[in-house]
């Protein structure tokens, strides 16, 4: 039982990270209907920017909360630049062309980003000293002590705050309304005087900044990154987005949590080596029974 609770806590933490990346996938898919393959690599770049700024601020000796806030903002800013540029260079010229073209372009962009970081930062893994230590302990008198580290609390709380801001942004503001309108009908939205190109750019910026937060969490949580982390995290997050129903924002978060939980429980109870297989197998099974994911809108085919 205690072991179960420990795995639950770990799974929720991991799920928060996947969920934040999944939002980027689902938003882009919702608005321009393409799989942004480079998103996983944007997440990786976010992790690198966070790592670099942690090292810089680590030397200054500022208090931890201020460092966290500054790193968060810096990572979001610089990673958003990447998201914006990638969209401008590789996807915008392809808008309105046939379905596979942006996907191939995104694959190419993903290869470019990965190798660019490999060249500029080196292929070795980058370890980082843990910033957080300690945590809350439960069930102290049983055999297995459940530990909820302060870092896990930080990750989950930060995710909840960001999700709150994000939900407000999408449901209540003009920007969110413009975005939802673009999702439904881009031509009509443009006719009503909304700058569609700008809205799409902003979508990429928001998606990238959320991915960079996930990257920062990843650095803190695992303490080690390399240029290749984007691939696996990226496809798992996309799996999460599909699982929750692609195009649906609560779905992305739910899918992220589910993938995180499945992965941790599988690793904890079944087999550690095959933990990556679990996520994909679940995806295949779910898609057979819920072809549009859990919260996705059923897709009506018209002639």
């Amino acid at each position: 039982m205690e072991y179960f609770i420990q795995q639950l806590v770990n799974g929720i933490t991991l799920g928060s990270i996947y969920g934040l990346i999944a939002i980027g996938y689902t938003m882009v898919y919702g608005i321009i209907g393409m799989i942004n393959f480079a998103h996983g690599d944007i997440f990786m770049i976010g992790a690198f920017v966070a790592l670099i700024s942690f090292i810089i601020f680590g030397l200054t000796g500022v208090a931890l909360p201020i460092i966290l806030l500054l790193v968060l903002l810096i990572a979001m800013l610089f990673t958003a630049c990447y998201g914006w540029t990638v969209e401008k260079l590789a996807y915008k010229p392809l808008r309105g062309s046939f379905r596979l073209a942006p996907l191939i372009s995104a694959l190419g962009m993903s290869i470019v980003l990965q190798n660019y970081v490999q060249v500029s930062q080196g292929a070795r893994v980058k370890p980082m000293q843990p910033l957080f230590s300690g945590g809350l302990e439960f069930f102290k008198n049983s055999e297995f002590i459940v530990t909820v580290s302060y870092l896990q609390i930080f990750i989950v709380v930060l995710t909840i705050i960001l999700m709150g801001i994000f939900t407000y942004l999408i449901t209540k503001t003009d920007l969110g309304r413009a975005q939802r309108a673009c999702e439904q009908d881009r031509t009509m939205t443009a006719l009503l005087g909304i700058n569609v190109d700008r809205t799409i750019s902003i979508t990429f910026i928001i998606g990238s900044s959320l991915a960079s937060v996930a990257g920062m969490m990843f650095v803190l949580y695992y303490g080690v990154i390399d240029f290749y982390i984007g691939f696996l995290a990226g496809i798992k997050a996309f799996t999460a987005a599909v699982l929750g129903g692609i195009g649906s924002l609560p779905g992305a978060m739910l899918g992220g949590l589910l993938i995180g939980l499945i992965e941790t429980f599988w690793a904890g109870y079944v087999s550690l080596e095959y933990k990556d297989v679990a996520a994909f197998s679940v995806l295949i099974v779910v898609l057979i029974f819920f072809p549009t994911g859990f919260l996705g809108k059923p897709d009506i085919e018209k002639v």
């Binding site: 670099i52 540029t85 942006p102 372009s105 290869i111 500029s120 930062q121 070795r124 496809i235 297989v277």
Partner: protein, 422 residues
């Protein structure tokens, strides 16, 4: 050009420079280096300023040029002329290409390196043609094609090392195994729509790779399988000193022994395999099942209403594509004599899909051109080891931006209802 335009484009270039500074500043400028127990930062501002300067200059030149818009139209004019030529003379082009491929090993400038590259290109051409059945004809986006390639390679390696059967028995078996895996995966997932199918096949590719890494008892894990038997020339092995009671190739034909014999034989082997794939595709396009694939690609609902069973039709495409992937896999295993899960990563799938799409989906000639172009680019950058994948990815993006339909856009159905206009 007016003065205001120049000022405007100058401002624009400066903005580009600012963005470039934000992009390259942290990632290129602050290189993290492990020293002792911690990470330290080595600044490299020189490189950053060079890159930012190049971006500003490039943007400025593009802006100056954009008034005339010359080179983009030039580029597309060039490529469309090119595809028009190949379209008209497709048959001549194909025959010339095949003749060139046949005499290639005996040309004076051909050396060992050229032969290796040519074999690699032909392997990708074969994989591209195999995947073209799935992506180009049936319109199913398969991002896990490398899984079938891996299944083919591993089943060949396992059968050949365990039972010691010859290449010509193992090859069809490997193909059948791969096709079987294609059906196994295809059966549950082919009802899914395009993008879902893409991600599920991607996941399947990863599953196969993870199983290959972890299933030590059979696949020997990350160490891979070594000592896979080389193919023999109809029973004549390519060995300097054959075993007792055997005649080797060079003794039988009374040649001087040379390692090139085996390379040349492998070259012709993959050439024949690739041409078989091509011939099969061209023929099956004219059969009812091939027409059903193309019809499904164009309009699934119409097909359903005409009584075509979409799942079964897609399943045949998937299985046949997988089978050719398996053949190519066996060839890969026998050429390398060593396989490990390293060779079957996602990047391979991405390269094969890129070849099919960049070539122009459904175009057989396009696959050839795209393979030569993409593999050629990475080979040209071979000396700059680190930059070759950047060049490869960059080429994918650029081709898509300038020619979204691929080098040879040939998405015409094989038959049209009112007959061909020409």
């Amino acid at each position: 050009m007016e003065k205001r335009d120049i000022i405007q484009s100058f401002k624009d270039s400066l903005f580009t420079g600012l963005i470039a500074l934000a992009l390259f500043g942290p990632i290129v400028g602050l290189r993290t280096v492990s020293k002792g127990e911690g990470l330290f930062i080595t600044p490299q501002w020189g490189v950053v300023f060079l890159l930012v300067g190049l971006c500003i200059l490039g943007r400025f030149l593009i802006n100056l040029n954009s008034a005339r818009k010359t080179e983009i139209t030039f580029f597309s004019k060039f490529t469309s002329k090119f595809s028009a030529i190949t379209e008209d003379k497709a048959k001549h082009f194909a025959i010339t290409g095949i003749l060139f491929a046949v005499v290639f090993p005996f040309l004076p400038f051909t050396d060992r390196y050229f032969m290796d590259v040519a074999i690699m290109i032909l392997t990708y051409i074969m994989l591209g043609w195999g995947l073209n059945i799935v992506v180009g004809l049936a319109g199913l986006l398969d991002l896990g094609y490398v899984a079938f390639y891996a299944v083919g390679a591993y089943s060949y390696a396992l059968i050949a090392t365990t039972f010691g059967w010859s290449f010509w028995i193992c090859l069809p078996l490997a193909g059948i195994f791969a096709a079987f895996f294609g059906i196994l995966l295809g059966f549950p997932v082919l009802r899914l729509r395009g993008d879902y199918l893409a991600i599920v096949t991607l996941g399947f590719g990863e599953i196969i790779r993870i199983i290959l890494i972890n299933w030590y008892e059979v696949t020997n894990g990350p160490d891979g399988i070594t000592g896979i038997p080389r193919p023999s020339f109809f029973g004549l092995p390519f060995k300097r000193s054959p075993d007792e009671g055997e005649t080797s190739f060079h003794l039988f034909f009374n040649f001087e022994y040379s390692t090139m014999h085996r390379i040349i034989f492998l070259y012709y082997l993959i050439l024949v395999l690739a041409l078989i794939t091509n011939y099969f595709t061209l023929k099956i396009r004219k059969l009812p099942v091939g027409r059903a694939w193309e019809a499904l690609r164009e309009d699934e609902i119409a097909c359903k209403s005409l009584g075509v069973n979409p799942t079964n039709t897609k399943l045949t495409a998937f299985a046949i594509g997988a089978m050719f992937g398996g053949f190519a896999g066996s060839f890969f295993a026998t050429r390398q004599a060593f396989i490990s899960p390293e060779s079957f990563t996602f990047i391979e799938s991405a390269i094969i899909v890129a070849i099919v799409v960049l070539g122009g989906m459904g175009s057989q000639t396009g696959v050839v051109l795209a393979s030569i172009f993409l593999i050629g680019i990475t080979e040209m950058f071979r000396d700059l080891e680190q930059f070759r994948m950047i060049a490869f990815g960059g080429a994918m993006v650029l081709i898509m931006v300038f020619k979204p339909k691929g080098i040879l856009a040939n998405r015409k159905p094989t038959i049209l209802m009112h007959g061909d206009k020409k």
